[in-house]
């Protein structure tokens, strides 16, 4: 810990606005969310930002910190600070509502468009499905299942930026877990929904998502799995 004061620049306003500077005392084990909370409590009561769990479970606190999308409640200032300065902005690739709050509707609408909902095949009268933990499908789903929907991957992806219809890493990763869910009953519709130019085939393996995912998921690997599965379906004429 070097200086006892942090220089913090925080985005104020909507799509148009400006950074405003604040000085925040440096503390031990301080997270970026602590810094934002300090500003809101002591310096700028009107500052809008989101958080809920503060322990990396809810996915609501993601922001752009010194240019990089991060979950702020689990990011220590020490990890993100450059020359005792933090620049905190809302997530990229999403419309800004106010200050650090973005409109996540498009992000979650794309989960729906990717058919990210489980389609059950059993009824309550059926017994529990037994899925062996060693099955390759189960392992593939496991590797991708821990997503908290924070939007860090979506904000870190240039394909999202260049191709507004692109479903994005989180929605595709979700679809991949369901493609590997042996209990799910609608693989075909889902594969059709995630194929093509707005879907997995738009991905250029830039891996911004995989690089930045705070849960260390590799959406790029999930998307590659979808590319193979959908290409197989397309060749068979099942798309």
């Amino acid at each position: 810990m070097s200086a006892s004061l942090l220089q913090v620049r925080v985005w104020r306003g909507g799509a148009t606005g400006a950074f405003r500077s604040y000085e925040v005392p440096r503390r031990e084990s301080q997270t970026v969310l602590d810094v934002v909370t300090y500003i809101q409590r002591r310096l700028e009561p009107g500052l809008a930002y989101r958080f809920a769990c503060r322990v990396g479970m809810c996915g609501s606190c993601a922001m752009t910190v010194n240019g990089v999308a991060r979950w702020t409640c689990r990011t220590h200032v020490a990890k993100a600070v450059v020359h005792d300065t933090l620049e905190i902005a809302p997530l990229a690739n999403l419309p800004v509502i106010r200050d650090l709050v973005t409109d996540m509707r498009e992000f979650f609408d794309k989960w729906a468009r990717a058919k990210g909902r489980f389609v059950p095949t059993a009824t309550r009268r059926d017994d529990f499905a037994v899925v062996c933990p060693d099955r390759p499908e189960r392992r593939a789903a496991d590797a991708a299942i821990e997503c908290i929907g924070c939007g860090v991957c979506y904000a870190s992806c240039d394909v999202v930026r260049w191709n507004p219809a692109y479903l994005g890493p989180a929605a595709l990763n979700r679809a991949w877990t369901l493609v590997n869910d042996v209990r799910d009953g609608d693989h075909r519709t889902r594969l059709a929904a995630v194929a093509g130019d707005a879907g997995c085939h738009a991905c250029h393996t830039q891996m911004g998502c995989t690089e930045r995912c705070p849960k260390e998921i590799a959406p790029t690997a999930s998307i590659a799995g979808l590319k193979r599965a959908t290409a197989r379906a397309a060749v068979k004429g099942e798309l």
């Binding site: 419309p95 609408d109 468009r113 219809a165």
Partner: protein
């Protein structure tokens, strides 16, 4: 400091609520097949370029001359077939890549683009096969 902040202003975002106007099934399938064609041609090119690089590195030793090149290639069915396939793969691979770049970096999509892309494919094929014929026949 304006403009360096949130990188995508709301104005450039697509309409927020469901624009379910996703492209038709046929269009999606076409995109997937284009993607596959890009990878299949890449696999062919992977081998062809390797051979091409090796031949070139060998051929340029002591400088290149037309006589030396033509002595190797003229009347060779092997080279004719090799470079014929090479050019075919190029004519598939290059236009698909250019199409993606036009879409992402120039924001150009739609039928007009596709017509140009097909034209580029045939132009490359014609120019390329002409060159192969010139050197190998």
């Amino acid at each position: 400091m304006k403009g360096v902040g949130p990188t995508t202003p709301a104005a450039s975002q697509p309409p927020l609520l469901e624009k379910e106007g996703r492209s038709s099934r046929g269009a999606v399938r076409a995109e997937v097949l284009l993607w596959l064609a890009q990878r299949a041609s890449a696999a062919v090119l992977g081998i062809a370029v390797l051979i091409h690089l090796a031949t070139m590195s060998y051929a340029v030793r002591g400088g290149i001359s037309a006589a030396e090149i033509l002595a190797r290639t003229r009347g060779s069915l092997g080279w004719l077939l090799f470079y014929g396939v090479f050019v075919l793969a190029v004519a598939v691979h290059v236009p698909i890549g250019l199409r993606t770049i036009a879409q992402e970096w120039a924001g150009w999509r739609g039928a007009g683009l596709d017509v140009i892309v097909v034209a580029i494919a045939f132009a490359l094929l014609a120019l390329g096969w002409r060159a192969v014929w010139a050197v190998c026949a």
